[in-house]
């Protein structure tokens, strides 16, 4: 007897006219845009930081990489977990429309796919890329592709 693949939950997000998916287990919350604090740095993907629940969270515009252009308007920030070799931290992804929680079967990415593609899923007649945030967003290399979500998010230099 063969077992059917179990449906996983994903969050669909909209960047301009395109939709992408992220594993729901990687998403913390969807929040309204708040003030972005900017300071000098050299990581071009990072726009700045926002404060969310007492944490300082980097804002990363993934549209530049996925669409080839930065977002000019944004409606929400999707707060997601980004896994690093040393732990998990929150990141804020600007999105341009509502997000939707769906259940779907993911087809894993093939070797031909770009590193930021974790897989593909079919929804409402569209084929949608499932994003691998660890490959899509900046961080010290190498980053793990997926890891247990039990690490405490964020570190403090002192507390």
């Amino acid at each position: 007897m063969t077992s059917m693949p179990e449906s996983e939950s994903f969050v669909l997000l909209r960047l301009s006219e395109r939709r992408f998916a992220v594993a729901a287990s990687d998403i913390a919350e969807l929040v309204a845009p708040s003030r972005v604090f900017r300071f000098p740095h050299q990581t071009k993907e990072v726009e700045g930081v926002v404060v969310r629940r007492g944490r300082i969270v980097p804002v990363i515009d993934v549209a530049a990489r996925l669409l080839g252009r930065r977002l000019t308007a944004r409606r929400f920030y999707l707060i997601a977990q980004r896994r690093y070799t040393t732990g998990t931290e929150w990141i804020a992804l600007p999105v341009t429309g509502d997000c939707e929680l769906i259940f779907a079967d993911m087809i894993p990415a093939s070797e031909a796919d770009l590193p930021h593609v974790a897989g593909w899923l079919s929804h409402d007649g569209d084929v949608i890329e499932v994003l691998n945030l660890n490959a899509l967003t900046p961080g010290p290399n190498p980053a793990p592709l997926r890891a247990p979500a039990t690490e405490a998010p964020q570190q403090e230099a002192f507390s």
Binding site: P40, H41, V51, E156, A157, F158
Partner: protein
């Protein structure tokens, strides 16, 4: 019946910081890291221009005993538009004198969050972390991050190829732990002396 003992409140660890501006951008530095604050004018007499080098952010040096203090243009260091520096921070336990536009105020931080790992380039050497002051996020600079050992070596080679100081033990002109003492206090903005005083308490390390 005995009432439960009240929960002990842990003392909040805090650190005195100086908020300062370079080209409009706001930064913080631990006050314990600042040995002196001088106006650019008072430093000008003792500063010496150094030959052009690949380290563009350093154009002048000050001789302090056996050591050279290199004057770092903060705007160039952070890749900000050029600005008019009015003050110099002589940074303790480094060979750096940092040009800044002005001091915003002195205050206390109680929480320093590590720089998020999404910041993965040069800035990791620039900042100790981030703090929120009056609901504004401010990067806290790392005093030793303004000049790397390689940059110091390159500058020493330009200034005097025969001179190869180690850079250790340069804290030779301490002014009783207070960066403002002995400095050109009259040059400082009024907010500096009005609202805050800098005690000599050490920083959280």
């Amino acid at each position: 019946m005995r009432l439960p003992a009240p929960a002990k409140t842990l003392p909040v660890r805090s650190e005195q910081i100086i908020l300062f501006r370079i080209s409009g951008a706001l930064f913080a530095v631990s006050s314990a890291s600042v040995q002196e604050v001088r106006s650019v004018d008072t430093l000008a007499g003792s500063a010496r221009e150094i030959p052009p080098s690949e380290i563009r952010k350093v154009r002048h040096m000050v001789q302090r005993g056996e050591h050279n203090l290199y004057v770092v243009n903060g705007a160039l260091h952070f890749n900000l538009p050029t600005s008019h520096a009015a003050l110099v921070f002589v940074l303790r336990r480094t060979r750096t004198a940092l040009l800044v536009d002005g001091i915003e105020k002195m205050t206390t931080m109680t929480r320093l969050q590590a720089l998020p790992q999404a910041f993965c380039n040069e800035e990791r050497g620039w900042y100790r972390g981030l703090t929120a002051i009056d609901q504004i996020v401010v990067p806290v600079v790392k005093p030793e991050g303004f000049l790397t050992p390689d940059e110091l070596f390159a500058l020493d080679s330009v200034v005097d190829p025969a001179l190869t100081p180690t850079g250790d033990d340069v804290d030779h002109t301490s002014v009783s732990g207070n960066p403002v003492a002995g400095a050109a206090i009259s040059e400082l903005p009024s907010a500096f002396s009005n609202d805050n005083t800098l005690d000599s308490a050490g920083p959280i390390q």
